[in-house]
Assembly symmetry: C3
Homo-oligomer: 338 residues x 3
């Protein structure tokens, strides 16, 4: 692809020479000849002098004194999202239902569905137009999957789960496994299972990373709203509701029946207890433990800062005496009252 | 099902009209006409006035002044566990061994076993009566699975692992992968693998959530006791022993050779170091880091409370100076000695 | 195997009787007659008197007054790594490509490859000599896997990923899933996907535990260096680079584009933010949140120590007032200036 073609495709102003071939994109530091790069942040402008890229997408205001070929954009990150797809090696759908899959006769398969080898689709399932299932997927009884959703290899979707349209579900993800619901039975001195009879409803345009788990509900469906993005290994407990357009980073776990608002940004390794509410537009930093409801939008954190282990060992002794220390200071303040 | 039939099935006293059809159960807030709901906690009694449910299971002592049809129980949560199974859409076992599975001739398959498509059962495996294997499961050499255990789709069980009876194992779970055992070899300046030659023994009535991992042992078997319940994405290190009837919530990791007692309740996102003992009936709150043995039953926690990130930034500065602060207070106390 | 044969195989000095059969190895406490055990640490020497093992590998300096048969080694842990393989029940490769696998005609399959049932190998893949694929693996388009790498059951490897030689990859692991890259589009008020067009390069002699996830890069490849060992459920974000011979314990998550040095030791449940550098030979204790670059080798920690929940509740009140407390102490110090 010529640079001028990319400029025209994206509708961007070109400064410099448009006739060179562009074979791909790369970061400022990594890009080589024939590659297109990006200046996302004015602070990195000095690196533009060193880049070996053939062209850069940047704000016009960052372009002064730049010798390299430029495409101007008010939002280089959005252009990135658009231009990257031009070079995406993701294999296209096969457009066929592989003969080595087991599909129940009662499953409703729309047109233009791709099903890889060794998939199982149970009775009553509904697979929308343009859906792509990678090899080894399990689609349980009465599951429905909306149009153009792509399910990668080795995904397991339990009975009755509903998935929206235009979703992407990565390998190893499990949707609709039983919620963690037990009641201690004092007679047998053991935990008795509470059947998890509700299901999971995943909205449109959702992306679920690899090895995500979303449990089915006990007294109501687990809900994942429209446009939600879950990173790898996120765990969503039974009856949780995740609001529209919320993004959750890797290895975060959300306890049962908790309600997460819309447009939240939740970091990685976070734990959120069960049965609480987190309001819209809440931001939670990584490895934070959310032990109580969040009723006001804002940025929340728990934990201590990082330190040398030797310092930490001294300071945690102090932490364990904090409540006592405060009393001692109060006593001193009484003595020293002016 | 008529409400009166449910009352009779559960052996509960009915107050009101028993002839209405009950089509399902739901939470107090979500239940609609034709549904049965529950009052688990007297504090929620005001919501009973607003519920659209057709009937409620509750303590007789909570029933005064209630217009809705009632079933009385001393333990509504235990009734929930019983009544939910009446409405469970979980598909029944097929009762057949699917022709598209590869089962070694030396595997011992009991009667009434269900095996989904694309399973592999290796030589010497023993599959008990009534066992159900979902599609795509891998059952390694010499594995044994006890009666009536249900294994959902895409589970991997390595060679020599033993699973008890009446267990439930959810999709994506891996049992018997190698423990994390390496020794630094200074000659090659690299980590040398220690073969993990022991196995995993899982007791009866265990439930393992989705994408759980349980490693095989190096010098002894990894043990998961009777009635243990592990939530999704829990990681159990090699040589760990989890005592009977202990429950562990999502994304918790337990380091190698640690011994967890019976009847423990361990929250989500917890980390427990290797080679320690945690006594029976210990409770550990979510995201706690257990950095030392727990020798006394009780409830344990680490971490700080949740706060606004702006406050946190100020307070962690204080934390990093805590040991110094305590010295300063001590100095002040000496000056102010009465 | 006779004890004398083991001594000769390992080149170790034998003290005592070498004609006894050794049927396996076990820990000091667990070993029984016919088993070989180890004394890794002089502190455990008293347990040698109680062991029922038939022989022990230990340092010669620990052998004084020991009645049991001994093999002397300067490094009993390294002998353990060597001797354990003698008793490893890991099934040998089948040496065949199972007829029930789907292998594209354009895939290059070297000699002596073992492929289990229900694998899919896409076009352009290159599978090296001696590679073993367990059942149900998915090998995407143009993937390459180096010689003698063993991939256990139900692993998913996306298109273009490159895996080195002599690696071990455990079940449920996913390599090459999309990185977590989105840009907020204010026009549609939704998160727009940034295609993740780069790939993952895994070096030689790497071991990946069960249910690990490694995302493909957006602007450069994700790199896992030579000899790296990742425990179960570790998550590696897009564009991360993990240096050679680094070991990372279970459930740890590393944010995008972060560069981890060589020979690091990272504990379990750790979270490391995106876009930072962690220098060679850094040690990070479990459940630590690495919120900033680490520029100096050493041992790092965050969090508080473990305590009774009742004490914790008092102390976190203090933590939330720490910055205020420091001011109060400063005020007192002014008043008390000598």
């Amino acid at each position: 692809m010529k640079l001028a073609e990319i400029a025209s495709l994206l509708g961007l102003e070109l400064q410099g020479e448009g006739s060179g071939d562009i074979s791909g994109i790369a970061g400022l530091a990594e890009a080589g000849p024939g590659q297109l790069t990006f200046l996302f942040n004015t602070a990195y402008k000095p690196y533009l002098k060193e880049t070996r890229a053939s062209a850069v997408i940047l704000k016009k205001s960052d372009a002064a004194g730049i010798a390299i070929n430029c495409l101007f954009s008010d939002n280089p990150r959005m252009e990135w999202a658009r231009v990257a797809s031009l070079f995406d090696p993701l294999p296209p759908p096969s457009g066929i239902v592989h003969a080595q899959s087991i599909i129940d006769a009662s499953a409703r398969m729309a047109d233009n569905v791709s099903v890889g080898p060794f998939c199982v689709i149970e009775s009553g399932a509904t697979i929308g137009k343009g859906v792509v299932l990678g090899p080894g997927c399990y689609i349980g009884r009465n599951v429905s999957i909306g149009e153009n959703t792509r399910v990668h290899a080795n995904v397991s979707i339990y009975h009755e789960v509903s998935i929206g349209r235009d979703c992407i579900i990565h390998s190893g993800t499990v949707i609709g496994s039983d919620g963690f619901g037990f009641e201690f039975d004092s007679q047998s001195a053991s935990l008795k299972k509470i059947p998890q009879i509700y299901s999971v409803v995943v909205g449109d345009e959702v992306e679920l990373g690899a090895n995500v788990t979303i449990d089915r509900g006990a007294l109501k469906d687990t809900l994942v709203g429209k446009g939600v993005k879950l990173d790898n290994q996120v765990h969503i407990g039974h009856g949780v509701s995740v609001g529209d357009h919320t993004a959750i980073s890797g290895n975060t776990a959300i306890g049962g029946s908790t309600r997460i608002g819309n447009y939240c940004l939740i970091g990685g390794g976070v734990g959120i207890i069960d049965n609480i509410e987190v309001v819209d537009r809440t931001e939670i930093t990584s490895l934070t433990f959310v032990s109580r409801p969040i009723t006001e939008p804002g940025r929340y954190t728990s934990g201590t800062g990082l330190m040398k282990n030797s310092d930490w060992k001294r300071n945690i002794v102090g932490f364990a005496k904090l409540s006592e220390l405060i009393k001692r200071v109060r006593t001193l303040e009484k003595v020293n009252k002016p």
